[in-house]
């Protein structure tokens, strides 16, 4: 049995070695040998994946707990560096390290010839290290360390090509928006420490604490404070997982290299919010208000991002909005306490989204950096493997029966309908009683509508990219080539995952392996919430409706885009007019709610602190100078006279003291 501490250690080691290589070779013209660096870069994540796999098969049901050492030990506050490997972290780690390894492998092909080759892989390893720490830690503070590390690495990688100012701005935006969420996380931890001391930061202790409250019927005492903590943690999650209102950084994060986008969207970073919700599931389960907020936010995010995805021309931007939309689904599922379903969707989404991003990267690679879908088309014949991978992943994301997304998305939709306890309370108007209206149908309908829109924009992406005829320039057409094998192999593996990952929990055909794995972690939390609909409904109805939604969306996309004339691309690929208003809704919201008030505050600080206080300081200084100049005129030119004067002064002082009897 290997130690849990080894798993994060491997990528950290990789980061240090590759970082050293990057620094040493920074002076040379040619840079380090790519084969050597690439091998090292893949080796460490692969070792860590092997370790996780080894542990995963030998894991006892209760999980493995290991305390490495003490971290902080001051009065009233004690935190250990400890790792927890249970059903939830097992699944997360398996795909974080597994897909992380595949993406690293793919990057060797994608980053070929880049000057920052070694630096890039050092960042990637650091990214994986942070994510592993985030998932594997057994307390919130260590999770927060990973949480921050992930934010830092996303900053480094989004702004990887830092010669371009726009990339740097995108990196700054990602970092700053994430910091806003991090404040929520920090304050949430503070709330927990206020309630029960630093021991509550430990996940096991928190679960026991919640259980104790439920058993002792102290809910009404603790729930208000816990609700505050829950909302704060949720703000943290919205920052990391790009939910309303902190979602604007994710589309901008497309400025980084495409494998980085795949890493951020599939395996690491954005999944951490969903992970935290599931990890704190037992706490969220007793906070109905917070759960309702999560459902509403998830619903709005899913719908808004799906519509925004319709308007994008940049192939990566479409995928970015689709990620936000899918994360909305996961949050909705968390909001109805279906944590296993949300983690399942994280799991399947990791496969098909990674496949889609890597496929998009291969397309961009083939077209020598072109990202505008209006200049693509007909790539099915030119790059058949990439096209097949993308189409499989497309079928998975729209929820085509049998593919991975079908199982997870239908599960979420079903749970939304069955478990959602939100309702508009009954009220009396003009003497008539209006009964309370349950909202589970509404939530379900929005989820289904989002599924239709998902199919439309993803269908649009596939049709514009792979079908029709090529719309770019003639000379660029000749250069189109399939990606090298080192890029294709990870894509094909991920495409297999996109097809078959769903069979780990195929509810309709009776396979529940995934649910059983997660049951020890989230089972109690889910059992606490009573389903809204107790009547037994045939799950086939939900599966059928989901399938109809997917087919309808694909049909609409076919009707609109298959034979449409695509307007020639002019200028930037950003949407214009009303589409832009919708897409940048939250950017402008941030501008008016966040950026402008902060700027005003900064202006006030500048004027009050810098100018007025500065003026006051200057005045005092000037007075002192004037007084000093005045006093200096008493100084005479002769040293002797001065000594005589000071002796006289001394005599005068002594005389005064003597004559007044020392009263002064």
């Amino acid at each position: 049995m290997i130690s849990l501490g080894l798993i994060p250690l491997f990528p950290l080691l990789g980061c240090i070695i590759l970082g050293a290589i990057a620094i040493i070779s920074s002076g040379s013209k040619k840079g380090p040998a790519e084969g050597f660096v690439g091998t090292l870069a893949v080796l460490f994540p692969a070792l860590s994946f092997a370790g996780v796999a080894l542990l995963a098969f030998n894991m006892p049901d209760a999980g493995i707990r290991e305390t490495v050492c003490n971290w902080i030990d001051i009065p009233m506050f004690r935190v250990d560096i400890g790792f927890l490997f249970d059903g939830l972290s097992r699944i997360m780690l398996l795909f974080v390290t597994g897909i992380g390894t595949l993406i690293t492998l793919y990057s060797i092909g994608y980053m070929h010839g880049d000057r920052g080759f070694a630096r890039y892989f050092a960042y990637i390893n650091l990214f994986l290290f942070s994510m592993i720490v985030l998932v594997l830690s057994d307390n919130l503070l260590l999770t927060f360390l990973g949480w921050e590390g992930v934010g830092l690495c996303s900053y480094l990688l989004i702004g990887f090509w830092n010669k371009d100012l726009k990339n740097c701005q995108a990196a700054n935006k990602a970092f700053i928006v994430n910091r806003v969420g991090d404040i929520g996380f920090l304050l949430g931890m503070l709330c927990l420490v206020t309630i029960g001391g630093s021991a509550l930061l430990n996940y096991d202790a928190l679960v026991n604490f919640i259980q104790m409250i439920i058993n002792g019927n102290h809910l009404e005492v603790v729930v208000p404070v816990l609700s505050v903590a829950g909302v704060l943690f949720f703000i943290g999650c919205t920052g990391k997982s790009a939910q309303i209102p902190l979602l604007t950084w994710l589309p901008d994060a497309m400025a980084g290299p495409t494998p980085v986008s795949a890493l951020i969207h599939a395996a690491t970073m954005v999944t951490s919010g969903v992970y935290l919700l599931a990890r704190l599931g037992s706490m969220f389960a007793i906070l109905p208000v917070v759960l309702d907020i999560i459902v509403v936010i998830g619903m709005l995010t899913a719908f808004w991002a799906a519509v925004a995805g319709l308007f994008q021309n940049d192939i990566k931007k479409v995928l970015a909005y689709s990620t936000i939309s899918q994360l909305g689904y996961m949050f909705m599922a968390s909001g109805v306490c279906a944590f296993d379903a949300s983690i399942f969707h994280v799991f399947t989404h990791a496969f098909f989204k990674a496949a889609l991003f890597l496929g998009a990267g291969a397309v961009i690679h083939a077209l020598a950096g072109e990202q505008d879908m209006r200049k693509m088309g007909g790539l099915l014949r030119k790059t058949p493997v990439t096209a097949c991978v993308m189409i499989f992943a497309f079928l998975a994301i729209v929820g085509f029966p049998g593919f991975a997304g079908f199982w997870s998305k239908d599960l979420i939709l079903e749970r939304l309908f069955m478990n959602c306890t939100m309702y508009i309370p009954g009220f009396t108007i003009f003497g008539t009683e209006v009964p309370s209206i349950p909202l589970n149908g509404v939530v379900y309908a929005v989820g289904l509508a989002t599924a239709v829109i998902t199919a439309v924009y993803m269908g649009r992406l596939i049709i514009l990219t792979f079908f029709g005829s090529y719309r770019g320039s003639k000379e660029s057409e000749e250069h189109i080539h399939e990606a090298p094998a080192v890029m294709l192999i990870p894509m094909v593996i991920l495409a297999f995952g996109a097809v078959f990952a769903g069979y780990l929990w195929a509810d309709s055909i009776g396979i529940k392996f995934f649910a059983e794995t997660l049951a020890p972690v989230v089972g109690a939390a889910q059992a606490y919430n009573v389903p809204a609909v107790t009547a037994h409904l045939n799950p086939m109805i939900f599966a059928g409706l989901g399938t109809i939604a997917a087919l309808l969306g694909m049909y609409i996309a076919y009707k609109i885009y298959a034979n449409a004339r695509i307007p020639a691309a002019k200028g930037s690929s950003a949407p214009e007019g009303g589409k832009a208003t919708w897409t940048f809704l939250f950017d402008s919201l941030h501008k008016y709610v966040g950026i402008i008030p902060v700027n005003v505050l900064a202006w006030i600080c500048d004027v009050v602190v810098d100018k007025i206080l500065g003026a006051a300081q200057w005045t005092i200084g000037a007075i002192a100078t004037i007084l000093g100049d005045g006093a200096a005129t008493f100084q005479v030119r002769k040293v002797r006279l001065q000594i005589a004067l000071s002796i006289l002064g001394l005599i005068a002082l002594v005389a005064i003291v003597l004559l007044t009897g020392g009263t002064f």
Binding site: G628, D629, A632, Q635, R637, K638, V639, R640, I643, A644, I647
Partner: protein, 104 residues
């Protein structure tokens, strides 16, 4: 006849006054220094004179302090003379009244 303590004090006062007057009235900087030394030693004398008034075992304390101040005065005289020499090299003059460039 026992030496009266008050006579020692009067002598010290006279020497101190001479030292001060020399330091203030002479323009030659060497004489200024000499005057300062004189005043300093007058104070030492005053110390010893007062120590005579104490009982025998305690009077030793009053005699130790002048020993310290003599040692310090020796060091101070070294520094003072060195400074005077340096100033003289700069200004080609030993007239204390010409040393006025510190005036604000």
């Amino acid at each position: 006849m026992e030496l009266q303590a008050i006579y020692v004090q009067i002598l010290a006062l006279v020497i101190f006054a001479i030292g001060l007057i020399v330091a203030v009235s002479r323009r030659n900087v060497f004489f200024v220094l000499m005057g300062v030394e004189l005043a300093l030693n007058a104070v030492n004398l005053s110390f010893v004179g007062f120590s005579k008034t104490l009982p025998a075992d305690a009077s030793i304390v009053g005699q130790v302090v002048p020993l310290f101040s003599i040692a310090v005065a020796a060091a101070e005289a070294c520094v003072g003379l060195a400074m005077v020499i340096l100033i003289f090299r700069n200004r080609e003059s030993v007239d204390a009244d010409t040393y006025s460039n510190m005036k604000g």
